[in-house]
Symmetry: C2
Subunit: 443 residues, 2 copies
């Protein structure tokens, strides 16, 4: 026999074993249900694209991290590094036929050959949703409602959606005479929570901003208070600037509608300091923080942009959307110990005994599945202790135990594995009993 | 403005627009539910692996089609070309900790840089399931039950699972003194449906098989009859050969159990001629054909193998499994015209009028979503005709129409878009009416 090949994954890549994949599937399923409940439709795009398409929007940053190579036809191709650029290409190609507004969600892996420190992976999942083809504030507000529904559905109760509007920041910069420096100022401002005031001012000065004006920006952007106080503050200071006024109006409407739609008070939190580093945001900006794990950073971020696909089409496509970071979310759930550690994908385990006629277990299992109850039948008639050990290790909730005598008397034992409580039931009553014990029959 | 970049996908790659992605999500969701109902647990592996790992099992064929390149760390890496090889690597790495039997499903894209003729794509999805760590025939039988449940859940009624056992073919070859030529003979036999008898005999002769013996193989493998007749025929001809006898016994047990588990008669179809080209199958073999589209080929194939991961570990891992070809299935559904063409992911569309207080639509929509009814609210107060046109084009089932006066009187119009029937309902009755009209309240 030849030497063995060492089984291993690449640095920065990982396998999803069932105890990690089961929660991932659950989150994706919940996200899918929420996106659909708001009318977002699913799309997918290829993992591989022409490099030209993927790097069109990127800066030096994406050039460095992209997985790029020549394919069999000597084409310059690369793996997508986010879902936004492929969506821009998709929109340019398909939206003329599909029409606007176009609301899509897209969930899939992306690849970045970057530093793997701090639990970063080189392959990770994004779950994006966007509405394009409209500038209506209703879509910005809806994005906030979606983020709220998403995290609620996943099971979080304590989280805050930080929201800002770049129009306010733009108005502020106009009033300070810094409109021409806005990219540099906003990029610097975006680093405030990480690096603190002085390094941000320094960065602004490096870009030719007067230090005093820089401090003024930070002072205004750092204003804290209730949502109402912040909006009143902006109106008082910059109410005459049309952009700032429009930003205030849009945020104010978002607060009103969110309240009508049943969001808990305090869920939306106006934060003038969030700017997002990406140049293409032009209006509403979102970042979402878990109250019990603020340090992990924003788990769902996004905002409004003026034009999604300007590199590929002359059709103007304004829009708004956000991206849920699935792997960061899973890491958070691991840290908060709200992952179950369950490896079993069905709730019921069926022990197999020797000496039973062929098909008796499979028949009973088919009956249970027809009642909506997932059941795994052990493949070999091993010792019952070994089989139950397997079932316990995998996290099954119930074991169904039926030997040859039981099939004669048509009475089977249901054992709850956690409590080890067990009782005999008549064969015909097994499905309804299990449904009840699994809480499947509603209230 | 710079020149536009032409928006396009690579040859052999495609976008999934909503009308294609909605059925893909439905199939995946149904497959997931079926796999789980039998206790298979989900896993995922990286798209990129060390080339050494991926090519370990492949022959010259995989070498040619694999997407291979050097990563940033100068590692020789490649995109997976199937889910079996990564599973073998995964099993070698994780099964010692996870234990056996280990039942997993894995659904994801694979990449092959091959000829794109005949609607083949270079990126396509596979949905595999396998049970490893047991030689029990119960697992082979379960695989047949899973294939049956899978296609039934997806909505097919007319399909046949062709089943064979390589033990019978091996026994037959032993009896004909061709045991040492079995790989060549089985590879040739696998081409029978495509090329016909004489070319298969020719190929066998090229590999040193006596032409008369080759014809004998084809005659025996081509024997047709009922399942019972075929098993009786094999028993009569080769019943003394232990391998053939074991193969007959395993197939016979599969028929009995399938019958007990409620499979329609005729669903399983013993076909001694199916061999599958892949060398690693050693026992049961499956191929699945749609009765209304036999020409599209097998849409779910697999079988039993003696050792999954011999290249990566000394631990013997026998198993059985099969793979559902998602894109072939979608192509079949397109051809059979059983794809709905629906682009809407929610059933209800809500028209937005100007002049309503902020949040009234979002509040009503939140109430509907809380009742489990997906609803898309149009973002802009455009003309009602334009909004309804959008809703009809996308395939929404109902439109909810409520202008400022309706909010005052708390009566809204529900319009069924296909029939254009409409009626007014009191606000509080809207959710229950819609649930009823959507058939959501059970029987």
């Amino acid at each position: 026999m030849a030497d063995l090949i060492q089984p291993r994954t690449l640095k920065g890549f990982r396998d999803y074993v069932p105890s990690l994949m089961i929660p991932r599937e659950e989150i994706l399923q919940k996200a899918r249900a929420v996106y659909r409940s708001f009318g977002f439709a699913p799309i997918d795009t290829p993992a591989l694209e022409y490099t030209e398409i993927l790097l069109g929007k990127g800066g030096a940053e994406s050039d460095k991290i992209i997985y790029r190579f020549k394919d069999h036809g000597d084409r310059d191709v690369a793996l997508r590094f986010d879902l936004t650029v492929p969506f821009a290409r998709f929109a340019a190609q398909h939206v003329p036929a599909l029409g606007t507004p176009f609301k899509r969600y897209h969930m899939g892996p992306v690849w970045r050959g970057e530093n793997t420190a701090h639990g970063r992976y080189r392959e990770f999942w994004q779950c994006d949703f966007d509405t394009i083809g409209t500038t209506s504030n209703s879509s910005d507000i809806e994005a906030a409602l979606v983020i709220n529904a998403l995290l609620s559905a996943i099971g979080f109760e304590r989280f805050e959606i930080h929201v800002n509007n770049r129009l306010i920041l733009s108005g502020l910069l106009e009033e300070l005479g810094l409109a021409d420096k806005s990219t540099a100022v906003l990029r610097a401002l975006d680093k405030l929570p990480k690096v603190g005031i002085e390094p941000v001012v320094e960065e602004m000065v490096l870009h030719g901003v007067d230090a005093e004006k820089g401090r003024k920006v930070l002072e205004l952007a750092g204003f804290k208070g209730t949502n109402e106080e912040i909006l009143a503050f902006v109106s008082a200071k910059f109410g005459n600037n049309p952009k700032a006024a429009d930003g205030v109006k849009r945020l104010d409407e978002m607060l009103q509608v969110a309240n009508q739609a049943g969001l808990p008070s305090g869920r939306l939190h106006i934060d003038l300091s969030i700017a997002r580093g990406l140049d293409y945001y032009t209006g509403t900006i979102f970042e979402t923080f878990l109250s019990d794990l603020p340090g992990i950073g924003s788990i769902c971020s996004g905002g409004r942009y003026d034009n999604l696909a300007g590199l590929y089409t002359k059709m103007p496509l304004p829009g708004v959307g956000a991206s849920l970071g699935l792997d960061r979310l899973l890491a958070a759930m691991e840290e908060l110990k709200i992952l179950g550690g369950v490896q079993a994908s069905a709730p019921v385990f069926m022990v197999r005994f020797a000496g039973t006629p062929p098909g008796v277990y499979e028949k009973l299992a088919a009956t249970l599945r027809a009642s909506g109850i997932g059941v795994e039948v052990f493949p070999e008639p091993k010792k019952i202790g070994q089989q139950l050990q397997y079932a316990e290790k995998r996290g099954f909730r119930f074991a169904l135990i039926a030997g040859p005598d039981d099939f004669a008397s048509r009475k089977f034992k249901i054992k709850e594995l956690a409590t080890r409580q067990e009782a005999d039931y008549d064969e015909v009553l097994i499905p309804s009993h299990l449904r009840k014990m699994l809480g499947m029959d509603g209230s």
